[in-house]
């Protein structure tokens, strides 16, 4: 049935696609490595980030093993890891803090952001607005090619004697600037990936503003494009502030400035083994003679600058997911997205509020309590636009003709886990409650419910949804469902108990919790979590297997396998450089499903109105949206 429909509206498609091939006789390197084609760049982001997903996941499992069986040798690999990392096969305390720091850094900066923004931004934006490529394809290529070196620089920290960054993914001073070369690799790598983000975001905005297909109004764009556009604004305005803070921490480390170092602070070993030169030596001499060392800095200043970026970064990670989920749900419920404009304004509200709430990370940092109250109120207000979104998603699937595809299952899981993660967020937004649960596993549970349960499930939904357009092959649905069920069950088994650990007072960055008597009761729970986490980790192999299996043996994808309305489905099944084989003219909004006067239950944006005046349809859809 799917192929039949694909056939119906693309009778003229294949011929044009056929002669695409000899227009692009480009070398292998230009085609697959230094490509300027947005779709290839999207695939590169996907490949790199999925690799990093396994790296970050591996770190997480090492952390979990230590929490379940502190001091016991890691099974299988414990004895082959180098002595600087393990003693008697068990993770050392020093290595543990490095793992914690890099798990967070890798997952946030090298997995979620590149997948949600880099991959979907690149793949979806030009296709969904009906154009041939990004506004500045070369800039786009550079934005990807900063990622692999940045990632390698980050991981290279493990091979220094002093180890990788160990000041947490937040790199708080004075610990951050006073640690060794690992921290430097962390700072440089974040600076690079930040620059890559800014280049990408600049391009997304320019593309959306300048390259929309004929007739496509802003308020006819799918939610994915809207979400990515607002995300790009967050990146443009937030990331450079982190870059400024990073440069200040770097000079604190190497030029002995003291932006973040308070008066009279004595720090033992400053490791300058990486940089040499007279300039640095001069600084060291002064340091040794305790001459002119100013102090006068403020560690909390870093926290303000860091969270000024990193709170919006939370929305950089979740907003694209919210867009993807909106598209996936509407398509598979065969209903227009409920409250299209309200959804867009809710995203805008979340993005705006995201910039004025960073202080809620700092209730315990010694901030003026009056300021804390302000941040508390503005944070709790975010629940309003978030609730608008949740209710509109529920409204979208309400009485829909729901198709439980792997993509849709992941999107539905997103809603469920985002509600839990969102509600625990309201707990922490409340300063009095936060004083109790600050720095406990409650926070860990929350962040994983929004970032794994939220962002990552939405990313999975997006991968299942757009894979046919990316590779021209359908992903295996049954493997997809298996991947979903295993992930969803073991995700909850892993992270839900962490709420309980947190309320019980389990600190979040502790090497061996059982040195405290009151935490000893939690060892069985920690062991349970660890086993669930291991299964969760291995469940992801199903996705990888599915991708490779489907690439080779998967069914060829039709043009519009999901019978969706948005413009990417007007492109050939496996679009080449240039994307479309027909001119695109947009006639209507992206969610015209089940239009009463039509026989087909979908009405693509690009399909010319036939037989009936356009106004009737528009008026009709208007009524349905507000019914």
């Amino acid at each position: 049935m799917q192929t039949a429909i694909a056939h119906a509206h693309d009778a003229h498609g294949n011929a044009a696609h056929g002669d695409h091939a000899h227009h692009h006789d480009v070398s292998f390197i230009r085609k697959y490595v230094f490509s300027t084609d947005h779709k290839v760049i999207a695939k590169q982001f996907m490949l790199a980030s999925l690799l990093f997903l396994f790296v970050g996941g591996f770190f997480a499992l090492l952390i979990r093993w230590q929490l379940a069986y502190p001091g016991e040798a890691i099974p299988l690999i414990g004895n082959i890891l180098p002595d600087t990392w393990v003693s008697d096969g068990a993770v050392t305390a020093n290595f543990y803090t490095q793992l914690l720091s890099l798990h967070g850094t890798v997952m946030i900066f090298y997995v979620i952001i590149p997948l949600a923004v880099g991959m979907f931004g690149n793949f979806c934006i030009p296709l969904m607005i009906g154009t041939d490529d990004m506004a500045l394809p070369k800039l786009n290529m550079f934005s990807f090619w900063l990622v692999p070196p940045a990632g390698l620089i980050l991981l290279s920290g493990f091979f220094f004697d002093s180890g990788a960054a160990a000041a947490g993914w937040t790199g708080y001073p004075p610990l951050g600037p006073s640690s060794g070369a690992g921290q430097t690799t962390w700072l440089i790598s974040l600076f690079m990936i930040g620059f890559s983000s800014i280049m990408g975001a600049t391009n997304y905005l320019a593309t959306i503003v300048n390259k929309r297909a004929k007739g496509l109004q802003f308020f006819q764009m799918p939610l994915t494009v809207w979400a990515l556009m607002i995300t790009a604004i967050l990146i443009i305005l937030g990331t450079p502030v982190l870059a400024a803070a990073i440069s200040m921490q770097l000079t604190d480390q190497y030029l002995h400035t003291s932006f973040f170092m308070p008066d009279n602070l004595l720090v033992g070993a400053r490791d300058n083994s990486v940089l040499t030169g007279a300039f640095i030596q001069k600084g060291n001499e002064l340091l040794e003679h305790k001459q002119l060392l100013g102090g006068g800095g403020q560690p909390i200043l870093w926290q303000h600058l860091f969270w000024f970026y990193s709170h919006p970064a939370v929305y950089i990670m979740i907003l694209p997911g919210m867009g993807i989920v909106s598209d996936v749900l509407a398509t598979f419920a065969r209903k227009p997205l409920y409250g299209y404009k309200a959804m867009i304004f809710a995203i805008m509200a979340i993005a705006f509020l995201g910039f004025v709430v960073w202080g809620h990370h700092m209730f315990q940092s010694g901030m003026n309590p009056l300021l804390g109250t302000t941040f508390m109120l503005s944070t709790i207000v975010i629940a309003v636009p978030s609730a608008i979104k949740i209710f509109n998603w529920l409204g979208t699937i309400w009485r829909g003709d729901i198709r439980f595809t792997a993509a849709n299952l992941n999107a539905l899981a997103f809603i469920a886990t985002f509600i839990i993660g969102g509600l625990s967020g309201v707990f922490m937004a409340s300063a009095p409650v936060d004083i109790y649960i600050h720095d406990t596993y409650f926070i860990v549970a929350h962040i994983h419910y929004v970032l794994f349960g939220g962002a990552l499930f939405a990313i999975f939904a997006g991968i299942y949804y757009w894979f046919p357009k990316m590779y021209g092959k359908m992903l295996n649905e049954s493997l997809g469902r298996k991947h979903f069920y295993w992930s969803f069950v073991f995700f909850n088994l892993t992270f839900y108990p962490m709420h309980i650990l947190g309320v019980g007072g389990h600190m979040r960055r502790i090497y061996n919790p059982y040195i405290y008597e009151f935490l000893q009761q939690f060892q069985p729970m920690n062991q349970f979590i660890t086993f669930a986490a291991i299964i969760l980790g291995f469940s992801q192999l199903i996705l990888i297997f599915n991708i490779f299996w489907s690439l080779k043996y998967g069914k060829a994808a039709p043009r519009n396998p999901w019978q969706a309305n948005t413009l990417e489905w007007a492109a050939p099944a496996h679009p080449g450089h240039g994307n479309f084989d027909t001119d695109i003219q947009v006639y209507r909004g992206p969610y015209e499903f089940s239009v009463p006067s039509r026989t087909a239950d979908f009405y693509p944006q690009w399909e010319e109105p036939q037989g009936q005046p356009e106004e009737v349809v528009a008026k009709d859809s208007h009524l349905r949206q507000h019914a």
Binding site: A16, D19, H20, H23, H24, G130, T131, D132, D133, A135, L136, L139, I198, A201, T202, N203, L205, A206, V209, N210, K211, R212, A213, K214, I236, L237, T239, P240, V241, L242, A243, A244, A245, S247, M248, T251, L255, H256, T257, S258, F259, K282, G283, L286, L292, G294, G295, G296, G297, Q298, L301, H304, L305, H577, G578, F580, D581, T582, D583, I584
Partner: protein
């Protein structure tokens, strides 16, 4: 792209892609310097005495000279764009060359300023004020250099047989150059001119 489709149509906003992207990028640049200015305000308030005292040691006359040089270079930049658009390649080359020269002039004055400071044993680690001074003016100087590189390429290309005839690209670079000028307009009073009047 290839098959005669009109997907790559005129920019919807009528602003060329590169120029639009430059405006967006400049928004990002503003936030970069805002990070420093914000930090400066915070640490100035907790080290008021130190900041006023140290600011007095900076050479405001050299900075004033640099202000004139940069404002002048913005003028020559604008004139070079204007002349390229009109097709006066000779004047375009003249004014672009003058802009590059102003850039060099600015950097030379900056070098003199820095070396005098080093001579007086004032370094980035001397105190928080000087940390800000070196970091902010340093990043500004890096931006000046970053602008001069493509400018030099355009200048050299203008002397080749084909000449240089991309007014939009020059204009886009001009946007960046005016921004760098504008950053200095903020740096000058903030760093050099706020000190006790006694």
């Amino acid at each position: 792209m290839s098959s005669g489709l009109s997907l790559a149509h005129e920019p919807v906003s009528k602003v060329p892609h590169g120029k639009l992207a430059m405006w967006i990028f400049l928004a990002s640049e503003i936030m970069f310097f805002t990070g420093f200015f914000g930090a400066f305000i915070v640490l100035r308030n907790s080290n008021l005495e130190l900041f006023s005292h140290s600011a007095g040691e900076l050479n405001k006359w050299l900075a004033l000279l640099n202000t004139f040089i940069l404002i002048g270079s913005s003028l020559t930049m604008a004139l070079s764009i204007l002349n390229l658009e009109k097709g006066n390649t000779g004047k375009f080359k003249l004014f672009l060359g003058l802009t590059i020269l102003c850039g060099f002039g600015f950097l030379i004055v900056k070098t003199i300023e820095y070396s005098t400071k080093f001579g007086h044993h004032i370094f980035p680690w001397t105190n928080v004020f000087f940390s800000f001074y070196f970091l902010m003016t340093g990043f500004h100087a890096v931006h000046v250099i970053a602008g001069m590189i493509p400018m030099t390429f355009m200048f050299i290309k203008a002397f080749t047989k084909k000449g240089y005839n991309h007014p939009v690209k020059v204009e886009t670079l001009g946007l960046y150059w005016h921004f760098v000028d504008l950053v200095w307009i903020f740096l000058f009073p903030v760093l050099y001119l706020i000190f006790p009047s006694h």
